[in-house]
């Protein structure tokens, strides 16, 4: 029965091939990794986390509330005091410093981070970066699962995990079967449409049916105690669910957003409070990925983690010991396809981005370019076989980031 269901879903998925985003002209490519996008909403402070500095490296006006002993260095990588919990995974992590987001207001900045492109006013029909990755993942479009609020950009393949999971739990097996059947009928109805939106929606509904097929055959995710911090329990539960979703191939992409880092008051204390509660949970997630395997090998080799804030923090303190916004960010990449142990890009004495060689990611004496969010988005899309230009992203390729 289960096999039949699975095959049914697969067949439906194959039928939906026409609306999966077109791939690039590359002929062969490796299995597309699962993607977890962790949005550290509000703006994590680079100097406290992914771009730590010593006093000699920065201008005296830059706030540097720790000494060099608080920096955890592993080869090229250096983690600031607030990111130290991820230091054990430095061998699987790469940091890109000084990425231009060109925005200092949360709503547009969140929107463009989810698009992985700058300068696009949100509110239109934009297709989120994770939708494009999910489309490349397989022939059927499994939903993009979202935990927390993602602002104005809504993935087209969205499932709001908290509410839908809760509602699905209330259904009996018979009722769940009715839901699946009706979604399948709706997909059939839409698939025959001449309007382009109809087949696209049908494809996503088929993916949703497949999601339900697989979900109904599984016991729910077990809750584990990953942290004792009260304000990190929700994050822990969300990451456990992401792990479960990936392990059971229920989704290709998940988005987790916690708006905790907007520290206009008491920057050091509040950044520390948020990071010390949540980032150890992320480290535990990576540890669990490394421990687990499936038929394709280690889960850590199959899940790509992108960690970033929508905007950065101004290097100087304000009168309330907080920090305002900054249009540049550091980004952390871990897991599948990421060249671990490397730090790319460089920032200057005021934490400003410096030019780099876009082929190597190394600093240049003179010449080179500043790296932008568009470049990162274009590179990640190419790595999963999606041609970014076909979706309006003219960002440059960064071969060092995903070789």
């Amino acid at each position: 029965m289960l096999r039949r269901r699975f095959l049914g879903g697969l067949a439906a998925g194959l039928a939906s091939l026409a609306v999966v985003p077109r791939l690039s002209r590359a002929t062969t490519r490796p299995r597309t990794p699962y993607h977890l996008f962790v949005l550290l909403g509000g703006g994590i402070d680079a100097i406290l986390s992914l771009d730590p500095k010593t006093r000699a490296e920065v201008d005296r006006s830059v706030d540097l509330p720790y000494d060099a002993r608080s920096i955890h260095s592993t080869g090229e990588l250096a983690f600031g005091p607030n990111m130290v919990s991820l230091a054990p995974w430095a061998g699987r992590a790469a940091v890109l410093r000084g990425v231009l987001t060109s925005s200092v207001a949360h709503p547009p900045a969140v929107g463009q981070l989810l698009l992985m492109r700058r300068g696009i006013p949100t509110g239109g029909k934009q297709v989120a970066f994770l939708d494009l990755v999910a489309g490349a993942h397989r022939t059927a479009q499994l939903p993009v699962v979202r935990f927390g609020n993602s602002g104005s950009v809504t993935p087209k393949g969205l499932i709001l995990s908290e509410t839908v999971f809760q509602r699905l739990l209330t259904l009996s097996p018979e009722e769940l079967d009715v839901v699946r059947t009706q979604l399948r009928k709706q997909a059939e109805w839409l698939a025959g449409s001449r309007d382009r939106e109809g087949p696209a929606t049908a494809s996503r509904l088929r993916g949703t049916v497949e999601f339900l097929d697989r979900l109904s055959a599984l016991p729910g995710p077990a809750a584990e105690a990953w942290t004792t911090a009260p304000d990190a329990q929700e994050f822990a539960q969300q990451l456990q669910r992401c792990l479960w979703l990936f392990e059971h191939d229920l989704t290709a992409c998940a988005l987790v957003n916690h708006f905790r880092w907007d520290t206009h008051i008491d920057n050091y204390e509040e950044q520390g409070r948020a990071s010390s509660a949540l980032l150890p949970v992320l480290a535990r997630f990576v540890e669990e990925l490394a421990k687990r395997t499936n038929s394709h090998g280690s889960m850590l080799d199959q899940v790509r983690i992108i960690v970033a804030s929508e905007l950065g923090r101004f290097p100087k303190l304000n009168s309330e010991r907080g920090k305002h916004h900054f249009p540049e960010i550091p980004m952390l990449f871990m897991g599948a396809g990421i060249p671990g142990g490397h730090a790319f890009g460089r920032t200057g004495r005021m934490m400003e981005a410096l030019a780099m060689d876009l082929n190597t990611g190394l600093a240049t004496g003179n010449g080179g370019s500043l790296v932008t969010l568009d470049d990162v988005g274009a590179t990640l899309l190419r790595s999963v076989g999606v041609d970014p230009e076909l979706h309006g992203n003219s960002g440059r390729h960064l071969p060092f980031l995903v070789p």
Binding site: S102, K156, R167, D266, S394
Partner: protein, 685 residues
């Protein structure tokens, strides 16, 4: 009803054998075989309209006018009006729009985000401190947990009570003056409205470290509230906003009146919030227990002449942001549809900000005059000055209140776009604000978005703006939009109802000429936009062409003020794609992405969808389902898509409705209750 409807009724006599006459809501009930109508307006030979489609259009009119699912009889009347001709259709729609239900729905149609019933405004937490309690000897003692204010939240409060039962004082709180409660003395401090060490700061929750400054809850506990009452205040705040709009729409008042004057429709709790401001300004604390409120629409207590500007001076709008600029961002979106862009900001720009720019609004004049920054800050920061004195938590702080008689400039797009000069009060701002062309354009855009959804065009907005200029009321705009919507769907060959345009001359232009005609006015000026994409280099630069194709294909360019004929847009995109990708397969793939291939179909709002499902199953789902999440409740029709999440929720709603209805065959019932032709506003072709 009206003369137009007489014609409708007469028409119905002719088709009564076909039209269902049930009073039970019956979404998209068939008019019946042969009931197809031939529209008479327009003259000449007209196509016969499929009765099913007639019903679908009719049902949509009810949902769009008043979020109401029509009964079979109502549907038949509407279908008759649709088929009868333009005059009858207009009269029928005017009747729909003139109902109380339509007025009540107006705030949610016009301002979905601001009217969101499921989400309190951002700085709601700054209105009050929430009291903690402890129990001793069977008695409840209230105390202030303290802590610090960060954004809209109070954090790191102590949970240890500062007194014992024996030390507690008896207080009559503002929310229940008939009954005394016990409060710790340090949490009470009835003599203290302002802090002693804080340069006369208020003791309100907008003051950091309030405990250290000797603050408590103040007289009648004016700065505090019992946690269980807080949600009620949130509901009342939102209701003042929505009820005032509904009242004004019900009177067919100009939309400008929403943002002018002292009157609102509010309950006693919101009236109390206005009186609290008077006490904060120095009026006797007795005002806190003075019940001066009258039911219905009435003038609000006023701090000074000009302190009120319709909804702009309401607590709901004040709480839209934790700090002044955030509030003005929300106001800019509310009345002008201007959203923060914040693009092309560089580190260098940020470093050039004034060195004393450390606290909110410090150095604002300099920020508002800096290139790039002025694109937002000239508008926001000058506008903020009109509202100074009222904090995010709806407190009155005289330290930052403008001097009587002060005046202020108002800017729109940048520091060079001075729009006027007015009295530095909320009323002074409102007079300037509603007289800007952006106000009418915004109201027109909001109505167009509500009616036409994602398919609203610049032409739709322009047509409504013409209506606004002669009759600036919601009813006039909605009537006009619904008539256009119905006629377009009736007359278009495709269900989508897109109108074809023709600009034969432009449709023949080559790529270079199109760039010259539609891009160079802005992009060859040497201004900031030139740096992003200049027409002089556009056709030689691969990356610039990709960006151009994306912005034109996605309808972001040319800007709305200079609308592009759809046929010309199509040609423009095709020619750009041809230049970028000589390979046909790749080119077609790119063009596909701008044709909706990656999008979902539109769907009615979640609230409407549940109503439709309820109607189709014959049950009232209002109280039966869990609340619709804020994610959906704050979105207008133009933002609704049939995502997997929406679909799952819809079908699960269907299961719930069918179970409530006692359906014997659950699968059959769910299939009927969640038919896509009923819950999608426009069925795909």
């Amino acid at each position: 009803m009206r003369r137009g409807l007489v014609a409708v009724v007469c028409f119905l006599v002719a088709c009564q054998n076909h039209a269902p006459r049930s009073t039970k809501p019956d979404v998209h009930a068939d008019v019946g075989p042969g009931g197809g109508a031939t529209p008479r307006s327009g003259g000449g030979a007209t196509p016969k309209i499929d009765p099913k489609r007639l019903n679908e259009i009719a049902a949509d009119l009810f949902v769009l006018a008043s979020d109401h699912v029509p009964s079979g009889r109502e549907l038949a009347e509407a279908a008759g009006a649709l088929a009868a001709g333009e005059q009858e259709l207009r009269a029928f729609i005017a009747g729909l729009v003139a109902t109380d239900a339509s007025s009540a729905f107006a705030p949610f149609a016009l301002f979905p985000w601001e009217s969101n019933p499921e989400s309190p405004p951002q700085s709601f937490g700054q209105l009050f401190f929430q009291l903690s309690t402890f129990e001793q000897a069977g008695q409840t003692v209230y105390f202030l947990a303290g802590g610090n204010v960060v954004g809209g939240d109070i954090i790191a409060g102590s949970t240890k009570p500062p007194c014992s039962l024996r030390e507690a004082e008896r207080v009559r709180p503002w929310w229940d003056p008939e009954h005394e409660i016990l409060v710790c003395p340090s949490s009470h401090r009835p003599d203290r409205i302002r802090a002693i060490n804080g340069k006369h700061q208020l003791c309100s929750p907008v003051t950091a470290a309030f405990e250290r400054q000797g603050c408590g809850c103040g007289p009648s506990l004016m700065y505090c509230i019992k946690s269980e009452r807080l949600d009620d205040i949130g509901v009342s705040m939102r209701k003042e906003f929505t009820d005032t709009i509904a009242w004004s729409v019900g009177q067919d008042r100009p939309l400008q009146d929403l943002f002018r004057g002292r009157e609102t429709v509010r309950d006693r709790w919101i009236d109390w919030l206005y009186r609290r401001q008077l006490v904060e300004s120095g009026a006797p604390a007795e005002l806190l227990s003075n019940a001066g409120w009258v039911e219905g629409r009435s003038p609000r207590p006023e701090l000074h002449p000009g302190a009120h500007a319709g909804l702009l001076s309401s607590p709901q709008v004040a709480a839209f942001g934790c700090e002044p600029r955030q509030r003005l961002m929300a106001i800019s979106n509310l009345i002008w549809c201007v959203k923060p862009r914040s693009v092309a900001v560089t580190a260098d720009t940020v470093f050039r900000l004034p060195t004393n720019f450390r606290a909110p609004m410090q150095g604002w004049q300099l920020l508002a005059s800096m290139p790039v920054c002025d694109g937002c800050h000239a508008r926001l920061d000058y506008s903020v000055q009109f509202f100074e004195g009222i904090t995010a938590g709806f407190h009155y702080d005289s330290r930052i209140s403008p001097r009587p008689g002060s005046t202020m400039n108002m800017y729109m797009h940048d520091q060079f776009d001075l729009r006027g000069h007015g009295e530095q009060t909320p009323a002074g701002f409102a007079e300037l604000a509603v007289s800007q062309p952006e106000f009418g354009a915004c109201m027109s855009k909001r109505v167009a978005a509500h009616v036409f959804g994602q398919h609203a065009t610049e032409d739709d907005v322009a047509s409504l703006l013409e209506v606004f200029e002669t009759r600036p009321t919601y009813r006039a705009l909605l009537t006009s939009a619904l008539v256009s919507y119905a006629e377009r769907r009736l007359w278009s060959a495709g269900e989508r109802g897109e109108t074809a345009h023709a600009d034969p001359a432009a449709a023949q232009l080559g790529l270079g000429a199109l760039v010259e005609q539609y891009c160079s006015d802005c992009h060859d000026t040497g201004g900031p936009a030139e740096q992003a994409w200049g027409s002089s280099r556009a056709l030689a630069d691969h990356s610039a062409m990709v960006q151009a194709l994306d912005s034109i294909g996605d309808r972001r360019m040319p800007p709305a003020r200079d609308p592009l004929d759809p046929a010309v847009r199509q040609r423009f995109v095709a020619l750009l794609a041809e230049r970028i990708w000589p390979d046909a397969e790749t080119r077609n793939a790119a063009l596909d992405n701008y044709s909706g291939r990656l999008n979902n179909v539109e769907v009615h709002r979640r609230s409407s969808t549940t109503k439709i499902i309820g109607a189709l199953t014959g049950v009232d789902l209002d109280g039966a389902l869990a609340k619709i999440t804020p994610f959906y409740a704050g979105r207008g029709r133009d933002e609704q898509e049939y995502t997997p999440d929406f679909a799952l929720n819809t079908v699960i709603d269907g299961v719930a409705a069918c179970k409530l209805a006692g359906a014997k065959d659950l699968a059959d019932c769910v299939e009927r209750a969640t038919r896509l032709d009923a819950i999608l506003p426009v069925a795909p072709r």
